[in-house]
């Protein structure tokens, strides 16, 4: 006999236990949460539409203006150059950090230490003002005769200084991301490659890097996205990227909010594209993972 409050699991004679309907657990608090968030979202959207201070007509006028599109192009160019050069140098620094030579390891470590210690904006201003420090750059024998020399101002334009600064900064972070990916690859993989007599460089390129990519990619995508938005720092060097251009325009017409929204929406759109790209690249490198 079942006492009150307990369940009887044994069915009576004319009942088929397999036919009993299953009632899913109910989650009333989830619905409370959904309603709460939906109301907040509705208020926000309502505000966006009805509050004239957002100034959507101005937004629409500038969103695809030629000067803005050009600035978006510059932002993309800075991102691409910063990423490609930064990761190329980052891989080299990561290899130094993983080297068997204590000297090369120290060189890699020092690079990362230095460029992670200096704030990006400070570094950028240094490059921008490099011609105060060194007016001429020349190639020649150290402490000996010079073969060619350049005016620093001509060699390093503001754009060049920006790319240099972003790439050097990015390389320090890229190096650590690449290194973390490489050390996540199972030791047995290297032993297998070594036992087959595969040359060191080929081991790295064919065996280690493709597997390291699995854990490098999500972090690298983070870096690319943060670099993409980080290019706005370059506005201190009066380079016509998106954020600088927006500041110039609202400095003229005082439509601050509308123009900040122009920049915001462009950043959101392009970040979304990067995220979609990340999805497909990750899928490619996961190809050995399919069943």
């Amino acid at each position: 006999m079942a006492s009150p409050g307990t369940l009887t699991l044994v069915s009576t004679k004319d009942e088929d236990p397999a036919s009993l309907p299953v009632v899913p657990a109910r989650h009333p608090w989830r619905w409370v949460g959904v309603v709460f968030v939906l109301v907040l979202a509705a208020q926000f959207v309502h505000g966006l539409v009805t509050n004239p201070a957002w100034d959507w007509p101005t937004f629409a006028r500038y969103f695809t203006a030629r000067s803005i599109i050009t600035a978006v192009g510059t932002t993309i160019l800075l991102t691409v150059l910063g990423t490609v050069l930064g990761f190329a140098l980052g891989i080299v620094v990561a290899v130094l950090r993983l080297s068997k030579s204590p000297f090369l390891r120290a060189v890699g470590w020092t690079y990362i230490w230095a460029f992670r210690s200096i704030p990006l904006i400070v570094q950028l201003l240094f490059w921008f003002n490099i011609s105060y420090l060194y007016q001429r750059l020349s190639l020649g024998i150290p402490f000996g005769p010079e073969f060619v020399s350049f005016e620093t101002m001509e060699l390093i334009s503001p754009m060049g200084a920006a790319v240099l600064g972003l790439a050097l900064h990015q390389a320090a972070y890229a190096a650590e991301i690449v290194r973390s990916g490489v050390i996540s690859v199972d030791r047995g993989q290297l032993e297998a490659a070594a036992s087959l007599g595969i040359p060191r460089f080929r081991q790295f390129r064919r065996i280690v890097l493709p597997q390291a990519m699995r854990s490098i990619l999500p972090n690298a995508a983070n870096e690319v996205i943060s670099l993409f938005k980080g290019t706005s720092v370059v506005s201190v060097m009066a380079i016509g990227e998106l954020f600088y251009q927006v500041q110039v325009i609202y400095g003229r017409n005082a439509r601050v909010v509308a123009l900040l929204m122009v920049a915001t929406v462009w950043y959101i759109v392009l970040t979304t594209l990067l995220s979609v790209g990340q999805h497909y690249v990750e899928r490619y490198f996961a190809r050995g993972d399919r069943r």
Partner: protein, 240 residues
């Protein structure tokens, strides 16, 4: 063919090999038995220089592995030269160590050209799995791909480090079959294993190693059925 002479190896304060000498002639199949931690895997890994030795040396066809003798000293070889020597020594790992991002065929082709890779994949009976990734294969199939890969450099000797220990019991047979065929075709093999049946049937010689030294060696029938040494008897009574 292979000559191991007075090899010592320590990891920190732990002396894993304490003067091991072993000779393997061409075409011979030597099975190495021993309790876990006895140094048998380390011995195998010193033969292709995955582990450096502290003392003693190893030669294959008279060529020193990992070192060059100049005057009274052994000079360590450059990595590139060691990698070249390893092409003469196939190695099959306990955990297969296939490259997971490459197909079976690409795995074998890392060590050889595509035609050779296809040939060896066929020899282990997996020609139809050429396009499969390691994860799509059973453990037994993965180990057979690994054997094909080890053979693809056409090594003088193939070393097997507990090749069936990571497999489900019903998959052990297919791997041992491949190894048996290899032995019959005259491949020189050194096999570390716990498969006593395989040792009895295929080995030309069984070597029993314990606490870093070779305790006993001889024909399988002698060592396995009439062990002389007490430690061999104790070990066999546990695994048979």
């Amino acid at each position: 063919m292979i000559e191991v002479l007075g090899v010592h190896k320590s990891f920190g304060s732990l002396e894993v090999l304490r003067g091991v000498s072993l000779e393997v002639t061409a075409g011979e199949v030597v099975v190495v038995l021993g309790p876990s931690g006895s140094g048998k895997s380390t011995l195998l890994r010193t033969i292709n220089h995955l582990e450096k030795v502290d003392r003693g040396f190893i030669t294959i066809d008279g060529e020193l592995i990992g070192y060059r003798r100049r005057g009274g000293k052994l000079h360590e070889l450059k990595e590139r030269e060691i990698l070249k020597q390893r092409k003469d020594i196939g190695f099959v790992f306990q955990n297969f160590n296939l490259f997971p991002h490459l197909t079976a065929l690409e795995n074998v082709a890392e060590a050889a050209d595509l035609a050779t890779a296809r040939e060896f994949l066929g020899r282990v009976g997996l020609a139809d799995k050429a396009g499969s990734y390691p994860r799509q294969l059973s453990g037994g199939q993965q180990q057979r791909v690994a054997i094909a890969r080890a053979l693809a450099t056409r090594p003088k000797v193939v070393l097997f480090d507990e090749p069936t220990s990571a497999l489900d019991p019903e998959l052990v047979g297919e791997v041992l079959d491949v190894m048996r065929d290899l032995a019959r075709s005259g491949t020189t093999m050194v096999v570390v294993t716990h498969e006593i049946g395989f040792a009895r049937e295929v080995a030309d010689r069984v070597v029993f190693i314990d606490q870093g030294v070779i305790v006993e060696e001889g024909a399988p029938a002698d060592v396995l059925d009439h062990p002389v040494h007490e430690r061999t008897r104790a070990f066999l009574s546990k695994v048979l």
